[in-house]
């Protein structure tokens, strides 16, 4: 019976010895950013996916013609940086824009990138068979032609403020020579989606499903070799598992830290939390329709009541309690980072007295136990929050208390994310604390908050806010060529939506990323923190992406 003891012992010995050899050589010399992400990508062709990880990987494999500058201006062509296109020229009537491609741009298989690729990419993105998420955004483009092999030209029906942004900075160029033989409807199943060939600063190395996606720097990249040698997405089972990898040293970057994680990181000297601007806004939306989507909500259908309920909340206190003192209160469905932001926008003040006065005036009288009622209906509603977000839950708890002060009885219901999405789509809620990621383009607010959006699915407008005035103002703003006049219209539109109070606007504008202290990020663009990954560096001499075997070596 002794044999049965020695065999396992030998195996164990061999096994732990094997792993230890591996880390010498390559890994220590090349810098690798190991991004730990809780979601596996689905398809790496940009036109076919909205998946977060896939979009990140795709943005480093494939390029746009131009990139927005750090100011994120989308009106006209100010601030844009060359990417695939070196330069561009407008026709005198502004109905066409010619982009001049960098002749050095080439695909990772060696084939040069030419105008034909741009034409193909445009066609694919507007194809109904493909259903690209940016298809509708390209609607203003009439056609794309090639003046010569290095000059694609975009033609427009009419001038519009964001025509340049839509033409040059929405679509990512994919290789015609590898894909044009594939029919559009079959693109989804093409092996290219799992083994892509791009033109960007990083080339595809491998994708092990459920585990790893790796990209390596392309030393022949036309804009210069990236400083970071390797990018690895290490896919974990959940945000918690992702954090574990960061703590154990198996990863050195995570893009989003929850407040409790920020606290936890402080206890790890080899990690740091870095704040960066982003385009997320969080708010508590009121369902203006009745429960289930029919009729009008007994409480929230009344504009004055919504205003009162907004005035009852001390938003500054909520935000600084659940986040930190540097967090910003949102003014509306806008972020301080986008170009049309105006800090002087009117805001409904925090005034419980005014709130009470309005409620009295609208017929909500105080009744038993301090809860108001109008006729037989009590001023009682439920706030829906996702069970995974302590921030939103804490915000709800604080608001619940503030509402008690003005005579409203609030219950809090915690559900998981998918259920919350389903309930909002079906309008089966009273109020819900939601978040949305804005687009750099200020006109995108139309997609989320217009009356048309109220009827579409999966929009932020689950509460069914519909205002003709807001629609008209946004339309005027989006078609104004002159930036100053456009800003004026946007301001009026924002004022309208703030005054109508379809939601209590809570917080916006920044997020925390967790990373190893040696990681030196380039400025993180608010709409895409990964936009300048090629410029990141990892300090030598400091613990870089530590492989598991390094951990073992350290422990011995």
């Amino acid at each position: 019976m002794r044999i049965s003891h020695t065999i396992p012992a030998i195996v164990l010995l061999v096994v732990s010895a094997c792993g230890g050899e591996g880390h010498s050589g390559g890994a220590a010399r090349s810098s690798a950013l190991v991004i730990t992400s809780p979601a596996d990508a689905d398809n790496l062709i940009p036109a076919l996916t909205t998946n977060v990880t896939a979009s990140q990987v795709g943005s480093l494999l494939f390029e746009k013609l131009v990139e927005p500058g750090d100011s994120l201006n989308t009106i006209g062509d100010a601030g844009f940086r060359p990417s695939l296109a070196d330069s561009w020229s407008w026709s005198p009537d502004s109905l066409s824009i010619a982009f001049h491609l960098d002749p050095r741009a080439h695909w990772h298989d060696g084939v040069p990138l030419r105008a034909a690729d741009v034409l193909y990419s445009y066609r694919v993105n507007i194809s109904k068979d493909v259903g690209s998420p940016i298809g509708p955004l390209l609607a203003g483009i009439d056609s794309v032609t090639a003046r010569d092999s290095l000059t694609p030209v975009f033609w427009f029906h009419a001038r519009s403020p964001e025509q340049f942004f839509n033409a040059g900075s929405q679509l990512r160029v994919i290789p015609a020579h590898l894909l044009q033989a594939v029919p559009d409807s079959a693109l989804k199943n093409s092996p290219f989606g799992r083994k892509p060939v791009g033109s960007g600063p990083y080339r595809f190395v491998r994708w092990v499903s459920g585990s790893t996606i790796e990209l390596d720097a392309d030393s022949t990249f036309h804009r210069g070799r990236p400083k970071l040698d390797r990018l690895i997405w290490s896919i974990a089972a959940s945000p918690d598992a992702a954090m574990l990898r960061l703590y154990s040293g198996e990863a050195n970057f995570i893009e989003y830290l929850r407040p409790q994680d920020v606290v936890q990181i402080a206890k790890h000297p080899e990690l740091k939390a870095v704040k960066y601007p982003n385009l997320q806004v969080f708010y508590m939306t009121f369902n203006e329709r009745g429960y289930g989507g029919h009729g009008t909500h007994a409480i929230f259908g009344d504009r004055d009541v919504r205003r009162a309920l907004t005035m009852a909340v001390d938003r500054q206190r909520v935000v600084s309690t659940v986040l930190d003192s540097s967090a910003r209160v949102a003014l509306g469905p806008i972020s301080s980072v986008i170009s049309t932001y105006d800090s002087t926008l009117p805001r409904l003040p925090f005034s419980p007295d005014s709130a009470r006065a309005i409620l009295d005036r609208r017929g909500w009288v105080t009744g038993a136990e301090g809860v108001r009622h109008k006729g037989a209906a009590p001023l009682r509603f439920t706030i829906l929050v996702p069970s995974t977000s302590t921030v939103r839950q804490q915000a709800a708890v604080l608001m619940q208390d503030m509402y008690k002060q003005i005579g409203a009885r609030v219950d809090i219901e915690r559900v998981d994310f998918p259920t919350m999405g389903a309930r909002e789509s079906a309008h089966e809620f009273d109020a819900a604390i939601d978040g949305m990621a804005l687009d750099p383009s200020p006109a995108s607010i139309r997609q989320e908050w217009s009356s048309a959006a109220a009827n579409a699915e999966g929009t932020s407008n689950a509460g069914h806010y519909a205002s003709r005035q807001f629609d008209a103002l946004i339309d005027s703003a989006a078609s104004q060529m002159d930036p100053t006049r456009a800003r004026g219209y946007y301001r009026r539109a924002y004022t309208t939506i703030i005054e109508d109070a379809p939601a209590v606007w809570l917080y916006e504008g920044s997020a925390w990323a967790g990373m190893n202290v040696g990681v030196r990020p380039a400025p993180m663009r608010p709409d895409a923190w990964f936009a300048h990954l090629a410029d990141w560096t990892i300090g030598t001499g400091v613990v870089a992406a530590e492989s598991a075997s390094d951990t073992v070596a350290r422990a011995q």
């Binding site: 591996g22 499903s209 790893t212």
Partner: protein, 322 residues
Amino acid sequence: MGRLLAGRILQGLAVVWVVATLTFALLHSAPGDPFSYQSGRRIDPEIRAHWRYVYCLDRPLSAQYVCYVRSIASGDLGYSISKQRPVRDVLIDYVPRTLELMFLGLCASFLIGITLGVLQARHRGTVVDWGSRGVSLLFYSMPDFWLALMMALVFAYWIPLFPISGIEDVVAAPTYGWWQHAGDHLRHLVLPVATLALMTTAAIARFQRAAMLDAIGLDFVVTARAKGVSEGAIVRHHVLRNALLPVITLAGVTLPSLLGGAVLVELIFSWPGMGYLTAMAVESRDYAIVTSSVLITSVLVVVGTIAADLLYALADPRVRAQ
């Protein structure tokens, strides 16, 4: 033997058919309409058209059932909305990793379990017996996910011997030769396999001990003892061989519990196998994956049971004589 095999295969097919009927019933009785809405998200029209064709959604329920069984038999298990690929392709990536875990877990738990059972029978009544029975019962009573967490805590944090997640060292892997790769892979396997093995070993050891005790009382064993054969020789030659057979049949019971344990163990160790896939599908409400998981695990159990029966038939001379 051939008839035995054929009979078993037929039985197995019947079982799979019943399970397929069950998944059909589940899909159709679930609230909402899993074929057009999943968690508030509208499914691509193209996918819906594909489903309408494959699942005959426009026809009456009985026709839908026939369509469903037919598509499963031909290998079309639906479309995963979270992975944006046909379920079959996803399974091809993920199932082999679970099979790896299963195989090693089964081997380890049988090895340890049988050894333990034999030891306990040999030294029955002593501390060895009571002690090891107690310990194995302890492991048997643990929730698989908690054991996995504790293993991770002890062997990855407090005593950093093994990695706790993934199937490879993502940074160093591309620089590995095949030998290092194998070693790296094995290192990542240790914790998940150990966790699975610890849980099932107890069940096997319990069974093995009882089987051994029964065998020890058999006539020919008494005779051998009377003839002066040493105890050790008796155990090795006579008792073990007779007691081993029933344990093979345990495979049929151990497999479902191993596969079930794999779900949470894979999740905790981020081992991207079928269990991990199933656990992730809960979060994304991917009904196709979740129901396919029910089907595939039952197929695996059926196949495993048939293999065990075959093994038993081959090993037992009485059966072979038929």
